[in-house]
Amino acid sequence: MIFTIASKELRALFVSPLAWLVLAAVQVILGYGFLKRLDDFLQIQSQLAQLASPPGFTELVAAPTYAMTAAVLLFAVPLLAMRMIAEERRNRTLTLLLSAPVSMTEIVIGKFSGLMAFLLIIILLVLAMPLTLAGGTQLDFGLLAALTLALLLLAAGFAAVSLYASSLTGQPIAAALIAFGLLLAMLLMGETASDSLRERGWLVPAAFAQVFSPLRNFEPLGRGILDSYAIICPLLLTAGFLLLAIRRLDGQRLRG
């Protein structure tokens, strides 16, 4: 059932021009960023060779490209997710799902999975860029795997927040703005909050605040460090906002 809803959502994304525009824009921006980095890398390569343990291609070219993808996703995910619930509500098509023998959880997880499938395409296209150079240079496959995982976790968190925003309103544009606002607030405040709480020795609130700082959790994996807490935090964020979205839809049934 989740698969049915997910494939419907993925299909709905691909029949709208928005998804194609996002894919094209992301690819142009990241492609340019990647080539620019690669160019810089080639220019300083001779100097790097003199270092005792020089940073490699993966670290200097692939990792920044992934960081850039994270920034692009901040804009792309709210736009991709905005229609998922808000537009179904506005067009009264949500009734079809609510009248079918499908639970709220299945509806929300299905929509989330559809969105993640689309984001996976973006992430795989990003991964494809460094892989094209596999024949010409020594790739650090461990670091690439960690970067891909980090991006997936980040995307999942963004997707859950955006889906929740979409469940709040009947206006897709409002949903995108809410999602963007929530994500931006998290990026700006989550890190500061968790840092200052930790400085004061309040470790539990600091750990809690870290759940809401997606970029801080992106960093360790982005350097190839498997920090289990940085993996758990985005998962908690994702689960938390999906739960909120389910509750929100359920509340609509109860309160009208």
Partner: protein, 314 residues
């Protein structure tokens, strides 16, 4: 009435719904039997749509319980919903999908086994006159065809209960006749709840009528029983050479005569004593020049107006 009656497909007891302080539906009872077509009538804002939303699990009732084929809708929503097909006021159509593709999605959502899916979709499209439109985008169809897709969506998984909220809105007269015939046909195997404003439609297709007003059921009777609800019946005649009104009054069975001017009269009589045959033979024998004789057709309308107009709308 025994709630465990196996013929009872919907058994709702004490169903009510409040939105904040506004009571949309007062506790109502609703029963639906297999093979029955129930017409749900009422003026705008009477609570018909709210009741239907509660019966289909789209809205949780404030109080009361709903049993669908003896399954508690609130305790086991998935099993109960699988037995219902629902066409809301606005058909829930994805405009960017093709008709066939959309119905495929609907059967998958309703967990129809894989082997029966294509069959179910083909049959529903044929029943709703959509056989030639399978590849068309829903958004490109006319309103009437979109309505048909909405009905197809409600029947495609062969549910026991079909709930249609104003199914003939926006259709042309031919399409309305088609849809009525379809509803009648559906009523043989399934059972149907139909909400509408069009009273002749109810008389044409329904077995039973429930009239709602201000969130309460004010009338619940079979169409056959409707006749007895009205104490007397009326017939309108128009005559070219009318006799004196006393002569008409003298015909056996006529309870009262009213002149409507221009040789037209409204005759009231009691249901067990129909004076129409006597009236026709007298008119022929005495050369009254009978032009028209119309039995009152809008008995349901009378009931409806009587029940929903007596109180001033707030």
């Amino acid at each position: 009435m025994n709630p465990a009656d196996p013929a009872l497909t919907i058994c709702a007891r004490g169903l009510s719904r409040r939105f904040g302080t506004h009571v949309a539906v007062h506790p109502v009872d609703l029963d639906l039997r297999r093979g029955e077509v129930l017409g749900l009538l009422g003026p705008n804002g009477a609570g018909k749509t709210t009741t239907m939303q509660m019966l289909t699990g789209n809205l949780a009732p404030t109080t009361g319980e709903i049993r669908i084929c003896d399954i508690d809708l609130l305790a086991a929503p998935a099993q109960a919903k699988a037995r219902i097909g629902y066409l809301p006021e606005t058909p829930p159509l994805y405009r960017e999908m093709q008709v066939g593709e959309y119905l495929q999605l609907v059967v998958r959502l309703h967990r129809v086994p894989k082997a029966r899916r294509t069959d179910a979709v083909t049959r529903a499209m044929a029943r709703c006159g959509l056989a030639a439109t399978g590849k068309k985008l829903i958004g490109a169809l006319s309103k009437g065809y979109q309505q048909r897709v909405g009905i197809a969506q409600a029947i495609v998984h062969e549910p026991d209960i079909i709930i249609l909220d104003e199914p003939t809105v926006g259709l042309d007269p031919n399409q309305i006749l088609d849809i009525r015939a379809l509803i009648r046909e559906l009523g043989d195997k399934h059972c149907v709840i139909l909400s509408t404003h069009i009273l002749p439609e109810v008389e044409a297709v329904c077995d039973r009528v429930q009239i709602m007003h201000h969130g309460a059921v004010v009338y619940n009777n079979t169409i056959a029983g409707l006749r007895d609800f009205q104490r007397g019946r009326t017939v309108t005649i128009s005559l070219q050479r009318p006799p004196a009104i006393e002569i008409l009054q003298g015909i056996a069975g006529v309870a009262a005569v009213e002149s409507a001017g221009n040789g037209s009269f409204r005759l009231r009589f009691s249901p067990d004593n129909d004076p129409t045959p006597a009236l026709i033979s007298r008119a022929g024998a005495e050369d009254w020049g009978l032009q028209q004789l119309t039995p009152a057709q809008t008995s349901l309308e009378d009931v409806f107006v009587q029940l929903t107009r007596d109180e001033a709308t707030p």
